[in-house]
Structure formats: C-alpha cells, structure tokens
C-alpha cells in the first residue's frame, strides 16, 4: 500500500474540481461501490454495493468481522485504491474520473489517513513526519513545523517531537500517525484501527480528539474492532461480507441517563 511518502510534490497545486457546494453537502459520498480483488477462481468480492454519505461534523464508525471489507472501503474512500464499479466523491470530486494529479492534490490537502500499520517514514523525526504533508502542500517549512508541533501536542507527544519512529513505542508511533492525519485543515479524516496499540485511556484521548475535529466540521470514518471506540461515533455501520448489514444512529436523549445526568 502506498503511503503519504509516495506522493509526488507538485509545483503548482491542481485546481480543485469542486464548485461551490451547499455547506451540508456530504464531504464523502460512496455510491453503489463494489470492489472485486483478483479474477476467476480467486475472485474476492470485498465490497458488494456500498452506499454511504458522510457529512461535515459527522463521525462514522465501521465495524465488522475480519475480512468484511472495512480496509478496502477506507482505502477507496481515501483515493488509495479504485472501485471496480460505483462512484467515490470527495468534496465534489469524483475520484473514479479524476486525474492522478487531482487525486494526489485532494489526498494531500483534504484527506487525513491513519494507516493500520502507521506508515511513518523511518528517516524522519516525529515532527518531520507530521509536517511532511503540509510541506508537500507548499506551506513554508517553519509554519509546517509549528502546525506539526501543535498536532503532536494534541496527541500528547510534544516531548517526543524530535525522536525517530524507531525510538518510540508502538502506541507513540500510532499517535504520531494520528497527528499527521489531523494536521492542517483536513476535511475528511479516515482512520483504520487507529487505537490498536493504545491503552484504553490513551485511546479515549485520541477518540476525543477525532470527535472534536468532527464537531469542528470535518467528516470522519473510523474503522475499529473496539465497541468502546466505535461508541464515539454518530453512526456505527456494520459490514459483513462486503455489504452493510445494519447501522446504529445515536439515539436522542431518551436514554436511561437523562434527567440531570449530564451536568
């Protein structure tokens, strides 16, 4: 799988294809999405017709058994893979018809992606890893570093900014990867098991951070096996064998905990 590192820095930013959209328009729209891996006898239907909208301010959790298509869905939403059929629209741009350059620009500017295996660049420090996408985007090195330090601070790693990935624990590397996905003004944050290496308290911190980004107007998808982290989402989507089998909405206040419980 290609990481942020594989992106080509482009001299001039590609013009975004999106026209002016209504403020509540979905940041991400998946339409009748299918993905077939391989062909013939080894054919795997990883996704079988997924429809999903994620609007500004919304955090959607995707759960499902191993092999149900969660990562496939996320990589397609993030422009790292293309569907076999169907459409993927990010901020008004259809990734199935966009040029590579347009997709690269969108990934750099609008999409934050947390990989299941972190995907940090070993030769760069934590701060440099986090600053990289912003520098590629053409903002000055000093500003990029300032933003990177702020993002690391948010994930509780301010003191480790100048360490290299192999000098950090798994959970710390994971938080660097999260900081990298959140740095700058990302409209769409996609996170594949971002809490796998974190204890529950640190996991909560990270989820609260993701939640607050969405509350501030970003759209997010969180893939997780952990119900306690999925519970931070507005909607939980259940995948099985490449199809959405069920969905929860956050209920309104009529739970057992109303009546002055929330102060």
């Amino acid at each position: 799988m290609s990481g942020q590192s594989a992106q080509q820095p482009s001299a001039s930013p590609a013009a975004p294809a999106s026209a002016s959209a209504p403020p509540d328009a979905p940041v991400l729209r998946l339409e009748s999405l299918t993905r077939v891996h391989g062909s013939g006898a080894t054919e795997v239907h990883a996704l079988r017709g997924i429809d999903l909208d994620v609007r500004p301010g919304e955090l959607v959790a995707v759960m499902g058994p191993s092999g149900s298509g969660k990562s496939t869905l996320l990589t397609i939403a993030g422009g790292l893979d293309l569907p076999t059929s169907g459409r993927v629209i990010v901020e008004g741009t259809d990734l199935t018809t966009a040029t590579r350059k347009e997709i690269a620009a969108l990934r750099r500017r609008s999409i934050g992606y947390v990989f299941q295996d972190y995907n940090l660049i070993p030769a760069l420090t934590a701060a440099e890893n986090v600053a990289l996408p912003r520098e590629l985007d053409g903002i000055g090195a000093r500003k990029a570093r300032r933003e990177a330090l702020a993002a690391l601070e948010e994930t509780g790693l301010a003191e480790l900014a100048d360490r290299f990935p192999d000098e950090m624990s798994g959970g710390q590397q994971q938080r660097v990867a999260i900081a990298r996905a959140l740095v700058g003004d990302r409209r769409l944050v996609l996170a594949d098991e971002p809490t796998g290496a974190l204890d529950s308290e640190t996991g909560d911190t990270v989820l609260a951070l993701l939640r607050s980004r969405c509350d501030a107007g970003a759209a997010g998808i969180l893939v997780t096996h952990e119900p306690r982290f999925a519970a931070w989402a507005d909607r939980v989507v259940f995948l099985r064998d490449g199809s959405v089998v069920d969905m929860t909405l956050r209920s309104s206040a009529e739970s057992l905990l109303t009546g002055g419980a929330a102060q």
């Binding site: 058994p65 306690r228 999925a230 519970a231 507005d234 209920s251 002055g260 419980a261």
Partner: protein, 223 residues
C-alpha cells in the same frame, strides 16, 4: 446495588439528613441510580435498627440528622475491602436467550446477536456522549478536579466497559458460530430440511451440526 453502604460512606464524612443524603448520592453517581427519598429513609431506619447509624439531633433548620457509629465504620471498611458478588441475575437473560436461540432450529441466531449488538452499542454511544461532555467540562475548569465529577466519569466508564464486555462477547459468539457453521435457521443448501429433532435424535443431529448443540448439552449435563 448497595444503597446501605453508599449512605454509610456519605455519613462517614459527617452527620447528614435524609434529603441531603439523597442529593449527595445522586451527584456522586451521576443519577445513574436514582433514589427516592422514601428509599433513603427506609434504609436509614434499617441501618439504625442494625446499630450502624444513630439519630444525631437536628440542624438549625430542624432536619433530623443521622451519624455513623463505630459498627457502621466497621461495616463500611468491610464493604470496601470485599469484592462485589459476581452473581448478577439480570445480565444472564441474554446468555439464556442465546443458548435457547442456538438450540432452536428455526431461530436466526445471527439476527438475535445483531439486534442485541445494535442495542448495546447504541447505549454505549449514549454513555460515551455523556462522557465526552463530562471530559470537556472538566477540561474547561482550571485547578484540581471536583471529586464528584471524577466519580461521575468513573461511573460512566463502568457502564461503558460493562456494555463493551457484552458487545465483545456477542462478537465472539458470532465468530464461533460461523466457524461451527451453526448460524442461520438452516443452511439454504439442498440437504433435506431438518425436522425439529426429537430429544433422542437431537444429540446425533447436533453432532452433524458441528457439535455445538451437543457441546451445549454436554456442558449442561455436566452441571
């Protein structure tokens, strides 16, 4: 839930009257266990009968005060020192329901599991939203955190962890049932529709079924 011990713990801070106990109990547990004032007075009179509290006069406004006794302090120490009994009947309804569903050929066990999963995760979403609010409120207040706020956060965490255990168990059940191929009412394959097994036949039918029902039966028999 031990209201008795909750009240003793509050009285250990000093004499209190009934309504005050109720208010403090609720603010400590975030109204997760709403008490009515009648319950408080009934509990207080039992505690008095058992010598764990004594009447302690009135405050300026004429409220009847209660104070903890030495016996009450012993009782409280013992409560904090001993683990809570794990036998918790209400939760078992789910285990019984699933066991019954697995044993009933016409029931779509996966649908039973999924319905419960959605219900459980939805409750977790509610708890988590409250927790998010609590954490945010705490972050907004400078200085040392209020103990009641911390207590409330811990209570919410407990509810979340408990629901999580249930959700994980459901995942585990589904995965295992998939592996044992014991899920849907009947496989839609073209083998003969299974009759509802008579009791003696059930054992052998269960063996073909991947052994799950037989295993359940054996487990039950062993108890």
């Amino acid at each position: 839930m031990s209201i008795r011990h909750g009240l003793l713990a509050l009285l250990e801070r000093g004499p209190r009257y009934g309504f005050q106990l109720r208010t403090e109990f609720e603010s400590r547990t975030g109204s997760t266990w709403p008490l009515n004032v009648g319950q408080v007075y009934t509990t207080l009179s039992r505690l008095e009968r058992d010598g764990l509290v004594v009447p302690a006069g009135e405050d300026d406004a004429g409220h009847a005060l209660y104070a903890i006794t030495e016996g009450g302090r012993d009782e409280l120490r013992q409560w904090f020192a001993s683990p809570v009994d794990r036998a918790n009947p209400p939760r078992n309804e789910l285990a019984i329901k699933l066991a019954m569903a697995v044993g009933s050929p016409d029931v779509d066990v996966r649908a039973v599991i999924q319905a419960q999963r959605v219900h459980t995760i939805r409750a977790m979403q509610d708890y988590t939203r409250l927790k998010g609010q609590a954490l945010e409120a705490a972050a907004g207040e400078p200085g040392t955190p209020d103990r009641d706020d911390v207590a409330w956060q811990l209570v919410l965490d407990q509810l979340i962890f408990q629901a999580e255990a249930e959700a994980r168990w459901l995942d585990h059940c589904e995965t295992r049932l998939v592996r044992l191929n014991a899920l849907s009412p009947r496989p839609e394959a073209d083998d003969a529709p299974a009759p509802v097994p008579a009791d003696e036949e059930a054992e052998s039918a269960a063996e073909e079924d991947g052994g799950l029902r037989g295993a359940l039966r054996r487990t039950r028999a062993r108890r």
